[in-house]
Symmetry: C2
Subunit: 228 residues, 2 copies
Amino acid sequence: MPIKMYDLAGAEVDRRFSPFCWRTKMALAHKQLEVETIPWRYADKAALAFANWDRVPVIVDNGKPVVDSWAIALHLEETYPARPPLFSSAPSASRFYNSWADTVLNPAIARIVVLDIFNHLAPQDREYFRRTREERLGARLEEVVKDRESRLPVFRQLLEPMRQTLIAQPFLGGDAPLYSDYIVFGSLMWARSISPMRLLDPADPVEAWRQRLLNRFNGMPRKAPGYW
Amino acid sequence: MPIKMYDLAGAEVDRRFSPFCWRTKMALAHKQLEVETIPWRYADKAALAFANWDRVPVIVDNGKPVVDSWAIALHLEETYPARPPLFSSAPSASRFYNSWADTVLNPAIARIVVLDIFNHLAPQDREYFRRTREERLGARLEEVVKDRESRLPVFRQLLEPMRQTLIAQPFLGGDAPLYSDYIVFGSLMWARSISPMRLLDPADPVEAWRQRLLNRFNGMPRKAPGYW
């Protein structure tokens, strides 16, 4: 029985853009586990009541619900130890990447692409999204992205620690990708899924790394609807 | 024969403030290796000619010179595998911490404490330090630190990924400190050694983590000359 996964979708059912769901999808592919995704919209909170949760990703593995991308990664590592490891050591040694993506990268990306997300949402999600995000960002979505081109250099500067790492080695995990790579990659898949704005310079070592990851799993991430 | 280590010193021979030397000192203590430090000043470049290098830390282990804090950590891990591990997995999986400290934390700390460093330097180092740092920072040292109080909130915000990690677990490495912890701790030891300005709020989880590390190795780091 494949693992079921609730996966945030836009108006188009195939446009799956959540950075956290991308972390989980890459982790499932890495573990070579079959997955059946269930498109989910913000308006579908009732569909997650069985898991006592209100956000995605949520997976159901052998009848057991597991919520939150980090907890799902730990669950997969523990439940499927014989499959390719997501962590090269205690997962706690990688938690910093999760915090870095959540507190540094994602907020910076949101301020660039938030209106693009809005424009790709299913109609029933738009009012909810606009209200909650405008509250969080303290401004109209249109206002937030008004001078977004000027934010690009700042965003690229935030990637400097990653860039220095990727100049020295092909993946954050070392010679091969690990869950730490998927955490950050998820943030870029989020932007790629819904925004035509290229966040990375073609000559950036971070872009070369992203291209390597787009090719993983027979090009699964590259085949997902997206702009760049 | 103890390992010899060239260690940056101020005017007072015991004031050892280099963040990179602190990484190495913590790594040596973690490995329970005896070390004999040799105070070094910027003016002593000739003393490192034997290693074909011009910066510290440089160690001499069994007659073999090893330069650069990251390379020294790899050397210790490889040469002393039976001693407590500095990495819980392939060191490459921790390289990001090194890049983060070097490109995000250290430049931010430098802009707050650079004049304090100058004031603690040996006389023969002052002209060199002022010239190279003013070139790098594009302003007189006095100018750089003029409104440094206003930089504190920005600096503390940079620690957010660490803070989120340390809310979830006691050390970056997990339940116990690893080299990743020492990398970042080195940056704070640098500031503590030469500046009375407390970079951390007493209620910050990062400060609680720093206090735990100050106590390690029988309080070795706490006993080092410093302000907070």
